[in-house]
Structure formats: structure tokens, C-alpha cells
Symmetry: C2
Subunit: 239 residues, 2 copies
């Protein structure tokens, strides 16, 4: 059980208030989680964070500070992003409860749950790196949970489900690609589409977003990524 | 649905930090609740509370400040208290999810959920006023949720369940007694037991706690309370 929770990484993207980082650390520890990462925080370390962390100083001290989101999730193979808005290009959407159950199923390797900025949440670009989006059920009149509160609710659902959860690696023969490997594949694909003049850099439209969604949904293994990149290299030389 | 949530009163007993009152107000509003009461707060109103309340100023401004717990729950007919410790005399214990479902069933009149002090929770005396106790599932290594976070988790469970909940008044012919009426009955009973020398005031033992638990469990209606008090008055005169 705790082994699964140790594989769930909570990622705070550009939080403004250090108190929320401390509050999140405490929320993690109360629910048996240990991996906290913070992308480009405004103020951290900070006494406010320490004060709000209370008895979770160990989680706070082990917090990874990352320069960008890609660094925070590079070694994860499944990522869910919290979202309150509806997106133009629809993405799979889960409730907090469903997302918790799914995260634990995927926890045969590291998985990540992303929480956005206090005022503006996650950007579209950040949400498009996610396999699923998560919405916490909330009042339509005022669905705006405090950042650390949202972390607490999701960690609570994870802890509730961890008791009877089991990671399902489903007997696949190769490890699934990490986010870093999928991002490299996407960059490679984009470069080839541009050099082959399929993609007009001055007017790219939603092509790359749709291809990103397709590849994220595909969940390729490492061998498949190598193979696809081999195909791209080959096609690029031929053009 | 929202009618049920409007009947659930969140009561913070002697909170030290005004930030937690504001955080609780925001937590309530995000989950469609509106009734907040605070018993004997250390600092309130306070700018910290307003800051943490964010878009829930309306809930914060409508917060009832009460001198003691009895005042905060006098007109409620069902009360649940959050608890982390095990009690010497066992009380019915529910998880946050079970308690949320039950509170909504009882919400044909006002019901209350009590949260204790940041450092020490609710006293035994306060917990003995409750029909049930509630424990939020949490890591045994560090089960200490921040006060406002605990409010958020319970309100979240209430909101999740409110969609398909229906208060079950179960076709009783008389209204159930309020907490104030049950407390009066208990005081009356104690006075009679003392004056009849059944109860030794210098060494009362757990008699009143056990009688309290019995009457709380009984859930008497107003006619039954009148009847029992009539019996007590009669016996007292006879002794």
C-alpha cells in the first residue's frame, strides 16, 4: 500500500504563496505520500512554508525544485492534471475519486498529479502533457478551492483507495515510455513535419496538439518509441 | 440538494488561528455549504481570516460567534464530532464518507459537525455531546490534518453525497428533540439522581457519561422528553 503511494508525485506548478507549499507537504504526509515537486516557485524555501508544514518538515525538505514542468515529470510514465475549465480540444476527464483509483493502477512506475497556479491554474500547454484531467467536484457557484486544500482532497482520495489498490502492469513485455521519451518523440515528429513542409510553422493550427493527444493516449513502450523515431529519421532523409 | 447542505452547520470549537476560520469558510463555500459557527475564537474577526476566505466573504460575514458549544448546537437535533483518539467509553464511530452520508439523511432539520482545537481537538466532554464520532482516514504515522483541511475533506464528502442524498425523516409523528432539550433533560436527571442520593457528587464515576450516551443514542422526540421530565419531577417530589 505505502509502496504505491510513494510512487505518486505531487507537482505544484509555479505556486505564488509559500504557505501553500507547506500546506501541501503536510497534506501529503497525513495521507501517506512523500514525493513533492515544485516548478519555479515564487518564494521557496520560506518560513511560511515551514510553519504551514507543521510535522511534515521531512516532506518539505525532500521537495524537489524544478526549473520547468518537463523536468518535474521527465521520469513519470503517467500524468494527470487538475483542471476547472472546459477545453477546446476535449481530453479524458476524471473525478478526484476516479483519478485516484487510476493513478494507483498506474503506479507500477512513478506517476504525477499536477496542480496549477493559485490564480490561473495550469496552462493549456501544461494540460496537454497530461494523460487525463481531473476535476474535484465542487459548487458551481464557487468551485475555487485553495491550492493546498485541493492537494489535500486528492491525497485523501489516494489514501482511501490505496488500501485495496494494486498496480496493474498488465504483463506488458517492455517498459512504458517516460514523459521525457514521449516529448523527444514529439519534438522529432514536429521537426520532420516542418522539414517535409507538412506543417506550416507560420500557421500550425492544432495539428501538433492533436498529434500530442494521440501519442499521449497511445502510451507507447520504449521499443515502440525507438521504432517510431527510426521511421521518422528514415522519412526525413528521404524527403 | 443545496437545501440539505444548507442544514449542515460546521462548528469550529476554540480555533487559535484566524487563518483557519477563513480557510474553513472558503472550504464550505466551494462545497455548497453556508452555515459556519465558531465557539470562543482566540482572534476573530481578523484580516488573516478575510485573506484566507478569498471569495467566501459572505460565508465569513455570516459566521455565528458563540460563547460555548451548547449555544452553537442548541437548535440541532443531530451532531457528529471529529476525533482522532480512541475513547475510554466507546462511541459510535464513522469514517468521513459514512458520516457525510448519515448527516445528509439526518438533514430534515439542522445538523452539526464539530471540529476541535488545532492542538488538542475536542475534549471528552464535547465529544460526549455527539451522536457519532468521525475519523478522517489518514496515515497512522502522521494523522494530523490541518483544521481547515479537515473541514475541506468533510465538506467535499458532503458535496459528493448531496447529489443522490435525501433526508429521511422516517415518518415520525413528533419532531425530534433538539440538543438544548436533551441537555435540559440530562441536567434534570442528574439533579434528581443527586437529590435522591443515587449519585454521589464527590465520586460520580462514569454514571452520567453512560446515561448521556444512552439518551443521545435514544434520540427522543419532544413529547418523550416532556414525558421523561414529568416522571423525573414526580419521582423527585416523592423522594
Amino acid at each position: 500500500m505505502s509502496q504505491l503511494l510513494d510512487r505518486v508525485r505531487v507537482v505544484l506548478v509555479e505556486p505564488s504563496h509559500p504557505g501553500n507549499i507547506g500546506g501541501a507537504a503536510r497534506a501529503l504526509k497525513t495521507m501517506g505520500l512523500s514525493q513533492l515537486a515544485v516548478v519555479n516557485p515564487k518564494r521557496f524555501p520560506d518560513p511560511q512554508a515551514e510553519w504551514r508544514a507543521a510535522g511534515a518538515q521531512d516532506v518539505l525538505e525532500a521537495t524537489r525544485i524544478c526549473a520547468d514542468l518537463d523536468e518535474a515529470i521527465a521520469d513519470c510514465h503517467w500524468v494527470v492534471g487538475t483542471s476547472t475549465r472546459n477545453r477546446r480540444i476535449p481530453w479524458p476527464l476524471l473525478s478526484a475519486e476516479q483519478a485516484a483509483a487510476r493513478m494507483l493502477q498506474e503506479a507500477h512506475g512513478d506517476v504525477a498529479i499536477l496542480f496549477g497556479r493559485e490564480n490561473s491554474g495550469l496552462t493549456n500547454e501544461e494540460l496537454q502533457k497530461c494523460h487525463c484531467h481531473l476535476q474535484i467536484p465542487a459548487s458551481p457557484q464557487y468551485p475555487s478551492l485553495n491550492l493546498a486544500m485541493a492537494v489535500q482532497v486528492v491525497c485523501y482520495e489516494l489514501f482511501k483507495h490505496a488500501g485495496d489498490a494494486q498496480a496493474t502492469s498488465a504483463g506488458w513485455d517492455r517498459p512504458l515510455a517516460t514523459m521525457a521519451q514521449v516529448e523527444e518523440l514529439l519534438r522529432h515528429l514536429e521537426a520532420v513535419l516542418v522539414s517535409s513542409a507538412f506543417l506550416d510553422v507560420t500557421n500550425p493550427g492544432q495539428t501538433m496538439t492533436r498529434l500530442r493527444r494521440l501519442l499521449i493516449r497511445l502510451r507507447p513502450d520504449v521499443t515502440e518509441v525507438q521504432m517510431l523515431r527510426g521511421v521518422l529519421t528514415h522519412l526525413d532523409k528521404g524527403s
